[in-house]
């Protein structure tokens, strides 16, 4: 068990380190170096020298890398080209909204997706199964912004049930604030959940079918147990382990979807920040946003691994994963 935890934590650290390193070297190894991006075509050797010195870019690469890691550990992600404010500050302003959106999409996908997949597997080829297969396929093939626009057009513009963008109305307090947050959240959330839940539930369904075909399930039936006992104790308890692992792996995709969704709905999270930063060529923001999202996803992934530890006795009693 300790070995499992240590190996998962080690992998998480490794993942973050690789993510950070990729972005560092990308920025430095570009033809012309990072100052080209900052100078943006202006030919001013004095300014360039000053910039190089300011950012420590005249140091050897390895020193820069060490400095970069050191600053990162202290939470220093550099300064935004555009607003000149610290990247970390900008990110932390936006992060709560992304956490709210992606986090609730994650939970809903998990909580609704598993029963959906299980129900489809139990009544194979039944109506829910066929519906799931259809929507699962559609979810896989749908481009997030397309769906987001569709939802906007129908529910915000045509029916007027929800606001067309943003995260919260101005000048509201107390319960109204909460209500406003929720009504702003629903459409982006829906589009994110729809894209993710179909493929996820389909995989849960495949897992569950595999488990239902296992010898121990046939044996459980041969013991005269009720179908609930067979499905819950013998089927679901086994199918849920790979389902949770899988959700951990799908987190990256979910966050990617969130970036696109936020852009369409002008939802003020990291995603729309990325969109703005792309337009402004604000590389420190892009780099910081990626590092922050990577850390978030890796941490959430670690969390799902630990949940698996609770679910799988083989991991708990020491046999290797």
């Amino acid at each position: 068990m300790t070995r499992y935890v240590v190996s998962r934590v080690g992998r998480a650290v490794l993942a973050v380190w690789i993510a950070v390193t990729i972005t560092f070297f990308l920025l430095r190894l570009l033809p012309g170096g990072p100052t080209t991006l900052m100078l943006d075509g202006v030919n001013d050797p004095a300014l360039e020298a000053k910039l190089l010195a300011d950012y420590g870019l005249d140091q050897p690469l390895i020193t820069q890398y060490g400095l970069f890691l050191w600053q990162l550990i202290q939470g220093n992600l550099g300064t935004s080209f555009y607003s000149q404010s610290p990247v970390a500050e900008v990110l932390f302003d936006r992060m709560p909204w992304t956490l709210l959106l992606a986090g609730s999409a994650f939970l809903i996908t998990l909580v609704v997706g598993i029963p959906l997949g299980v129900a489809a597997a139990v009544k194979r080829d039944g109506l829910p199964d066929q519906a799931l297969r259809f929507f699962g396929m559609a979810g896989q093939a749908m481009f997030v912004p397309s769906l987001a626009v569709l939802l906007l057009a129908v529910f915000a513009l045509k029916l007027g049930w929800f606001p067309i963008g943003g995260a919260v109305s101005s000048f509201v307090e107390g319960p109204q604030y909460v209500a406003s947050v929720i009504s702003h959240l629903i459409l982006p959330l829906l589009s994110l959940v729809f894209i993710n839940i179909g493929p996820y539930a389909l995989t849960v369904r495949t897992n569950m079918l595999q488990v239902l075909g296992a010898d121990y399930v046939r044996s459980a039936r041969a013991r005269g147990l009720s179908s609930q006992a067979v499905i819950w104790n013998h089927g679901l308890r086994n199918a849920v382990i790979p389902a949770v692992t899988l959700m951990g792996l799908q987190l990256g995709t979910l966050v990617g979807g969130a970036v696109l969704t936020e852009t369409v709905f002008a939802y003020p999270g990291i995603g729309s920040l990325i969109y703005e930063a792309v337009g402004r060529q604000d590389f420190p923001i892009l780099q910081g946003a990626f590092i922050l999202l990577a850390i978030t996803v890796v941490l959430a992934n670690l969390l799902t691994d630990l949940v698996c530890l609770l679910l799988d006795p083989k991991l708990r009693t020491g046999n290797r994963a």
Binding site: A214, Y216, R223, L225, H234
Partner: protein
């Protein structure tokens, strides 16, 4: 076959007792991609209280389909199309899933085939047993713990209270099967169906499990259906035997009578070819001069002080440990003869074979082939060795590349050594097919289309392609049905005489070894415990472990020195 008469004791008549199960004219069909396929047809039999009935057949004979129909557990594409299944006087063939639930587990227990896959991996063993007791009202929440411990103890699990709280992966195969027996008998059913209950276990464990199962059912007065592919085992354990072939019952009757006087052609062949029943060695040799003759032949494979160690991670604390697979192994294989290495899984016999094939390198020791040490051979020397030493593996389904045609498979070794042109290679492939008695038309077929026996013939043909001196057979017949086993063994013997081949023959099955080997080496836990000429080892085993292995073969023990 005269010596099989005393096999089964005279049985008290059971026909007056209550009829537990009465199957009449049962037929099952399956819907497949190719349309309706018949699973079983016209199956009828009767089972009385306390009686043990064995259903014997090879894979695909319909024996499993029959018991699945009785349990109402046919796979989704299978239907009972006609016939009745009377369980204690009521026809349950058309019962709903819900009605069957009251019968399964409570009145009809099941001991499934593979203990490794039939326990729920995420549920404590005790909970899986308790679940059955609670579902059928045989225990209350209060007294269920005690009953679980009692049942596990009765099934022969020491320290039952601790075991009940463990998960299946903490159990060995034999312990799991004991737990499954405890579950199958938990509600004291009138009928227990044991589906190949020991075929996945080691031979020495098999016997104790079967004994235990026998005594438990006797004590409880439970009738039992024993499903098995082993006619010898069936005759030893059951009063009545049903022989099935291609979905039909070809013969049924008292087990002694079936062994002594099989009526149907198929049963006759089955009795003749079952290794555990056949009495004589296939090879025509003179037993008197045997030992002398063999040792006069030059040594082709000379193994001294062989040691193979692996680094493994411990299951409990995750620390690296050294696991010794093989240690201090010595033997000489003489040209033109067969040396068998016998042992159970984990005995180190397969590791030895893999080292002899130079698929693995030994940690230390000497492996000489024709006087050259091959233990750490590489490069050109290795390539020369590969030509002279060829393998035949156990599972004919997995030992041929399913994406390749028979012709491609046979010609691959020739291609690797750039022997002959296209036409010459084809001609050689045809010769090889003839050697293993396969029709030339099979050349263009794909391995996936062939039967297990045909595939093993192809594997043998390919092993012969480079005209090797030594063939290493790793359990070459243990995945085959008995009838086919005999044919393949015969073919191996014939080729040995014709081509002067030497065989290193790896097997867990002493009965098979007796038919083919000249000399025998018995391995246990990585070491050789006994060696000698086959006749000597079988007639007067010196080591206790060898005696145990011999005892666990149905009937050999009772026939004493018949071999």
């Amino acid at each position: 076959m005269s010596d099989t008469q005393n096999v089964a004791e005279a049985v008290p008549p059971v026909s007056e007792r209550e009829v537990i199960l009465d199957v009449r004219d049962l037929a099952v069909d399956f819907t497949t991609e190719m349309g309706r396929v018949s699973g079983v047809q016209g199956v009828s039999f009767t089972l009385h209280r306390g009686e043990t009935l064995a259903i014997v057949g090879e894979s695909g004979s319909g024996k499993t389909t029959t018991i699945n129909a009785v349990l109402g557990l046919l796979p989704g594409n299978g239907d009972v199309t006609s016939g009745e299944i009377f369980f204690r006087g009521t026809d349950i063939a058309g019962y709903s899933e819900k009605a069957l639930r009251g019968i399964r587990g409570k009145h009809i227990g099941l001991v499934p085939q593979d203990p490794m896959s039939n326990l729920n991996p995420v549920m404590r063993v005790g909970d899986q047993l308790a679940e059955v007791l609670l579902a059928h009202g045989k225990a209350t929440r209060k007294d269920v713990r005690g009953k679980v411990n009692e049942l596990l103890a009765r099934a022969g699990l020491p320290d039952a209270a601790t075991r009940a709280r463990q998960y299946p992966h903490e159990f060995s195969g034999g312990m799991r099967q004991r737990a499954l027996i405890a579950i199958g008998l938990a509600c004291q059913p009138e009928l227990l169906i044991a589906d190949e209950p020991t075929s996945a276990l080691d031979v020495t464990v098999q016997r104790t499990i079967l004994d235990h199962l026998g005594s438990l059912t006797r004590d409880l007065g439970t009738a039992m259906i024993l499903v098995t592919h082993d006619l010898g085992l069936a005759a030893e354990r059951a009063e009545t035997v049903i022989v099935m072939n291609k979905g039909r019952i070809v013969e049924q009757g008292p087990s002694a009578q079936i062994l002594r006087d099989p009526q149907h052609e198929y049963t006759r062949r089955l009795v003749e070819s079952a290794p555990s029943l056949a009495s004589d060695r296939m090879k025509p040799i003179n037993p008197g001069a045997l030992t002398g003759q063999i040792t006069e032949m030059p040594v082709i494979l000379h193994v001294r002080d062989l040691v193979k160690e692996y680094t493994v991670r411990s299951h409990t604390d995750g620390k690296r440990k050294t696991f010794t697979a093989v240690t201090g192994v010595n033997f000489d294989l003489h040209r033109g003869t067969t040396l068998a290495i016998v042992g159970e899984s984990g005995s180190g016999k397969s590791t030895t074979a893999r080292i002899a094939l130079r698929l693995e390198e030994p940690t230390s020791g000497l492996v000489e082939f024709n006087g050259t040490n091959i233990a750490h051979l590489r490069g050109r020397g290795l390539k020369t060795l590969r030509k002279q030493v060829q393998p035949i593996f156990q599972d004919p389904y997995a030992s041929l590349n399913p994406m390749a045609s028979v012709g491609e498979i046979l010609e691959e070794p020739l291609k690797i050594y750039r022997l002959g042109n296209r036409a010459a290679r084809r001609e050689r492939a045809m010769d090889l097919l003839e050697m293993v008695a396969l029709d030339a038309s099979i050349y263009d077929r794909f391995a996936t289309e062939l039967s297990g026996g045909q595939r093993q013939r192809i594997a043998i043909a390919r092993a012969l392609a480079l005209e090797p001196d030594l063939i290493i057979c790793d359990e070459p017949v243990s995945a085959l049905d008995v009838l086919v086993q005999a044919q393949i063994l015969e073919l191996l013997m014939k080729l040995q005489t014709e081509l002067g081949l030497s065989y290193l023959f790896i097997s867990h099955d002493l009965a098979v070894v007796r038919l083919i080997a000249d000399q025998i080496v018995v391995m246990k836990a990585g070491e050789i415990v006994e060696r000698g000429a086959v006749v000597d080892v079988f007639t007067s085993p010196q080591h206790e472990y060898t005696r145990m292995l011999l005892d666990s073969i149905p009937h050999i023990a009772s026939r004493g020195t018949a071999g």
